[in-house]
Amino acid sequence: SRKQFNEAFEEININFRGMFATLFGGGVGEMRLIETEGTSEAGIEIVASPPGKRLQNVALLSGGEKSLAAIGLLMAIFQYKPSPFCVLDEVDAALDDSNIVRFRRLLQQMAGQTQFILITHAKTTMEVAQTLYGVIMQEPGVSRVVSVKIGEHDGDAATNGTPYA
């Protein structure tokens, strides 16, 4: 229903503005409803302007900036309505070291509500995981999975005495 959509839109937008400000340390990031030809429904335009930079076409943003803004939008939706789980396949590929740290912090914040499954090559991202699934192809062309539980302190569940939570 249109009322339902507008409520969801407003709330997700508030979340997105907050997410953007956190991830970029300022700037303006939000969604706007725009008239779309050929339909009575409004389309959604995304405005994303990192701090100190002038507002312009989001296409001109850098690869890393686009990734970070998109992550912020996704998390804004999850803040409104958490998904049971979420699969992120190499979403950190374009992020530099300091943005990977921001991404990690955001994951830790959101992990209570949604189970995140990250596919990544970045050591920094791996460090935030409680479980690692190592995929190997010892026999060519045949995949196997080995799962390893990591303790919440120093990578060793046994040493800190608390049961794996």
């Binding site: 959509f5 839109f9 959604i44 396949d89 990544t120």
Partner: protein, 187 residues
């Protein structure tokens, strides 16, 4: 809903039956060298949730998801992926109970009548012939029954909760009405 386990057999590079158990929440990371099968796991989740487009799974036709053989192995005859989930409020949610209870051979969601939690497994199979099967707790059902469980969760038809490799950079350049359908699904 909480994810408990993923099982794959005959799906893409997962010739042998493999399992990913999820115990406890938080963040999990899937790691390994290029080409070892990580994105294939993500594809298997999209697929068991009802992905209809072979192209979205990097194939040209749906049979491309069946293990195609390797140096030492013959191609498989079937691909099968199962997702086991826990619904902590099964008794409160008429929809899940109904789907699992309803017509079309779907079965009652596991769990004691007075118990709160209920574990259930959804399965999708594809044979080389092109024949497909969808199951809830081992009983045949329609693809619709599986999709209904996940409506509005981000794991439904728009599945915005599954971001494929290379797609994060595309989200900002998506079309205005595509973005609308994502918000509509969440609403």
């Amino acid at each position: 809903l909480k994810l408990k386990k993923i099982e794959l057999v005959g799906f893409k590079s997962f010739c042998d039956r493999q399992e990913l158990p999820f115990n406890g929440g938080g963040v999990s990371a899937v790691v390994g060298p290029n080409g070892c099968g990580k994105s294939n796991i993500s594809d298997s989740i999209s697929w068991v949730l009802g992905e209809r487009s072979a192209k979205s799974l990097r194939g040209s036709r749906m049979q491309d998801v069946i293990f195609n053989g390797s140096r030492d192995r013959k191609p498989s005859g079937m691909a099968s992926v199962s997702l086991t989930l826990l619904d902590p409020d099964a008794h409160l949610k008429p929809r899940t109970a109904l789907v699992a209870n309803g017509s079309n051979g779907a079965t009652r969601v596991n769990g004691s009548p007075n118990g709160r939690a209920a574990e259930f497994t959804i399965t999708r199979k594809l044979f080389r012939s092109g024949e497909s099967q969808y199951l809830i707790n081992g009983k045949l059902c329609r693809l619709r029954d599986i999709q209904d469980i996940f409506l509005g969760t981000g794991l439904g038809p728009e599945h915005y909760a599954i971001i494929e490799q290379g797609r994060i950079g595309q989200i900002l350049s998506s079309r205005p009405l595509d973005r609308r359908s994502i918000i509509e699904e969440a609403a």
